[in-house]
């Protein structure tokens, strides 16, 4: 009896706190709004909170990465090296989430390859580090994409076997790391600006005015198709490219982020990016596709949300780095591929047609 009297208030408080927490994503019905109003809100919030929001966060975290590289150059100890590595992983996570919407300037302006080209050109990189060239920005501009971006930075930070010590770094390597971080900062700023309504010629405007004569999108439907195709596209890329190729060939040299052992986090971030887009939630919870789909096709909404979660949770089954798991945990990797393929199939064969049919030109 005494126990119950203790539990009861706890339960009541718990219930109250749950009912008080307003979470729009658990509230599928938007009774006050028409489909058209929801569509407008989704496009606005996608542009503001997902595209611009993610790129802004990436710019901030890229600045933090640059600072960490500089501090490591000043003080070479394990702590500063760890901080630089963590900063790399932090900004990498944001970038991988942004890959769930690879359209607009990131794609048309070739920003993606200049940030994330793989594989690393070891031979050229090693030659470069043994020259006397000063790593100015104009020198960096003269280099090809294969010598710039996340992966050369990863290679320098962790070393080929992933176990580089702070004392192994040469002066040239630290200088090049800073030059890479500077170049990445520049690209992150360009990317943020490309969606920033405060900057002229921004993609934000193209999306929210879709269907008007000034927009490059002839209809809102075209933007919705673009968004869904991008979500399905990253499913395909991660399941049937990034994961499948090293897995099927049992070839660790095909792994994308091997030095940092960050590949599994990369893949998971890609899927997290899909979740962000679908729910319109990145740092700020706005309108997402979920608001439209749950109102008009609850069954489809349930499939998509559970399949996204299944895909995300499927990674929990893998307990060793990806480069090892392609040999020792093949069942678990196959499960990840299956879950992502299931999601991709739903996005392509159900969500896309639904959007095409229910969003008027």
């Amino acid at each position: 009896m005494k126990k119950l009297s203790v539990i009861l208030p706890v339960v009541i408080i718990l219930l109250t706190s749950i009912s008080c927490k307003k979470d729009k994503d658990n509230d599928p019905i938007n009774p006050g709004l028409s489909n058209q109003e929801i569509q407008n809100n989704i496009l606005n919030d996608f542009s503001m909170h997902i595209a611009l929001g993610t790129y802004k966060d990436m710019e901030n975290k890229m600045n933090a990465f640059y600072t960490a590289c500089q501090q490591f150059d000043v003080t070479q100890d394990q702590q500063k090296l760890d901080e630089a590595r963590t900063a790399w992983k932090n900004v990498r996570g944001v970038w991988e989430q942004s890959e769930a919407f690879l359209f607009g300037p990131v794609s048309t302006e070739n920003i993606d390859p200049s940030i994330d080209t793989w594989p690393v050109d070891f031979l050229s990189l090693d030659s470069l580090l043994h020259t006397g060239n000063s790593f100015t920005q104009s020198f960096m501009n003269s280099l090809g994409d294969e010598l710039k971006g996340f992966h050369p930075a990863e290679y320098i930070l962790w070393g080929e076997d992933g176990n580089k010590s702070f004392s192994d770094f040469t002066v040239r390597e630290r200088e090049y790391l800073i030059a890479l971080a500077t170049d990445l900062q520049l690209k992150a700023t360009i990317l943020r600006a490309s969606w920033d309504p405060a900057v002229s010629d921004n993609y934000f405007q193209e999306v929210i005015t879709a269907g008007q004569a000034t927009s490059i999108y002839s209809s809102q439907r075209a933007v919705f198709e673009e968004i869904v195709n991008a979500m399905a596209g990253i499913c395909d890329e991660v399941a049937n490219g990034k994961i499948y190729e090293p897995f099927a060939g049992m070839d660790p040299s095909l792994e994308e982020s091997p030095y940092s052992n960050n590949s599994l986090t990369d893949f998971r971030s890609n899927i997290q990016g899909i979740k962000n887009v679908y729910f319109g939630n990145y740092l700020v919870d706005g309108y997402g596709l979920n608001d439209f789909i749950s109102k008009n096709n609850l069954a489809l909404h349930s499939s998509i949300s559970s399949q996204i979660d299944n895909a995300l949770h499927s990674f929990d089954g893998i307990t060793v780095p990806f480069g090892d798991a392609i040999f020792s945990q093949r069942t678990q990797i196959q499960n990840v591929i299956n879950q992502i393929n299931t999601l991709q199939n739903t996005l392509e064969s159900q969500l896309l047609p639904f959007v095409q049919q229910s969003i008027m030109e």
Partner: protein, 462 residues
């Protein structure tokens, strides 16, 4: 017995009459006018409007053929690196791009150089006066047939390029004006003195959708459109280029590239691997830098395995064409009328039929709407590169296909057209048309603003 005979004879008469009637009924031809004009690529049309509009596989591809396409897709995007390396070795030593995708961004159209940036999705063909033994451009000593403006670390690019734009104003009959720009290319940092009279021809990367269908247009179909001596007196000639094909080891009708210098997609893709990326294949086994000091002397040929090469060719062959949009919109229909009245359709042929080919069922016997005749036409001095290539003279260019052109902004983020990307919108591109097309561009200049807008709207929805 007798009765049976009678029945039989009656039956025989009936059958005879039936056979006679059937033979009289002329098989009706499918009326192409009845076709759905949205279906630009025939049955290989996709309804796609977005950044991936040019990147869709033929919709009827399936099974192992779709897998082969996907394999080619992955390798089309692969980045090559300096040899030796565990993956994708063989870049350079001199090159224009380290992957197919970096020039053909989203399988689309390249753009000209921008201020303070290296060339990204265009290149320059070079040659010296004269012809090679097959009648093609004569390679420039020390430079070959193409200027490689990049090199792997420690090697010298052949040269660097920058551009100045010269602007001039053109006027429409109603007094409206438009500013056109013309490039003046500057070549500097040559690794060795260029030979006397070296000619340069600027080329942006052309979009790839529907190329496999164009390859399946029969030679006789293209030949029927030629009118080399303008016998019909309409001011439009149109001639076929005839070029050397390395794989087939013979002269064939040219159909790909800005001057129709390639007959087959095998040749086009192998040439791009070799010249653009410095990657050897079974078709072109010799590095483009061979005989030059940049050559790496590594015996790793062919650098791209045959199976991978073939998958990339298959990928390019099986890229679908996006459907036209808003075909029933009155403004689009009006624009289409004007396109015809201006005579644009005399070269930008709206309809072609591919040949019947049981080995390539997806592209066999398709009515397509490519808006090209695949022929060479004199475009006047304004666009001339004065660098002949086989039959193509210095002022002649192949009619580029217009299908999907309205999606360029979405796919590639720009509206730069023509071989060197000088046009910044459709109207500028139209007004650069000279030579055989001079009457057409004059006609467009005489149009009212409303009609000009209709014409542009038509192009935007192609």
């Amino acid at each position: 017995m007798k009765r049976t005979n009678k029945i039989l004879s009656v039956l025989a008469v009936f059958i005879g009459v039936a056979i006679f009637l059937a033979s009289c009924r002329k098989a009706e031809e499918w009326d192409d006018e009845q076709s759905d004009e949205r279906m630009s690529g025939g049955s290989q049309t996709v309804f796609a409007e977005g950044v991936g509009a040019f990147s869709q596989a033929f919709p009827t591809l399936s099974g192992s053929r779709l897998e082969f396409h996907d394999l080619g897709d992955a390798h089309f995007e692969a980045t090559f690196v300096t040899s030796p390396a565990p993956q994708f070795q063989g870049l350079g030593t001199i090159f224009n791009s380290n992957s197919c995708f970096n020039c053909h961004v989203n399988d689309g159209r390249g753009k000209p150089i921008r201020a303070n940036e290296p060339l990204s999705s265009m290149l320059f063909r070079v040659s010296i006066p004269g012809t090679d033994p097959r009648g093609g451009p004569l390679a420039a000593p020390g430079y070959g047939g193409q200027l490689q403006d990049k090199a792997t670390f420690g090697h010298s690019p052949e040269a660097s390029v920058s551009v100045n734009w010269i602007e001039h104003t053109e006027y429409f009959s109603d007094g409206d004006s438009i500013i056109l720009r013309e490039p003046v290319w500057n070549f500097f940092n040559h690794y060795t003195s260029p030979p006397a009279g070296m000619m340069y021809s600027a080329r942006v990367a052309p979009p790839l959708q529907g190329l496999g269908l164009l390859e399946q247009v029969d030679e006789s179909t293209i030949r029927a459109l030629t009118d080399e001596n303008d016998l019909d007196n309409d001011g439009i000639s149109g001639k076929m280029n005839y070029v050397w094909d390395e794989k087939n080891q013979k002269m064939m009708p040219g159909r790909f590239g800005w001057k129709a210098e390639a007959a087959t997609l095998d040749q086009q893709v192998a040439g791009a691997y070799n010249e653009d990326m410095g990657v050897t294949s079974y078709i072109f086994k010799t590095e483009s830098s061979f005989g030059q000091p940049q050559h790496d002397h590594i015996l790793d040929e062919p650098e791209v395995p045959d199976s991978i090469f073939n998958s990339v060719v298959f990928y390019v062959k099986t890229l679908a064409v996006p459907a036209r949009r808003r075909v029933t919109d009155p403004e689009v229909k009006r624009g289409k009328e004007i396109f015809s009245q201006a005579g644009c359709d005399k070269c930008h042929t709206p309809k072609l039929r591919t040949k019947t080919d049981v080995t390539f069922p997806e592209a066999s016997n398709q009515l397509i709407h490519p808006y090209t005749d695949l022929l060479l036409h004199d475009m006047g001095s304004g666009l001339a590169d004065y660098r002949p290539a086989y039959n193509a003279g210095g002022t002649e260019w192949r009619t580029p296909p217009l299908w999907g052109i309205g999606l360029t902004q979405l796919v590639n983020g720009h509206n730069n057209y023509l071989h060197d990307g000088r046009a910044r919108n459709f109207m500028e591109a139209i007004l650069w048309h000279g030579g055989e097309a001079a009457n057409s561009s004059s006609y467009v200049k005489s149009l009212s603003k409303a009609d000009r807008n209709s014409l542009i709207t038509f192009l935007k929805n192609l």
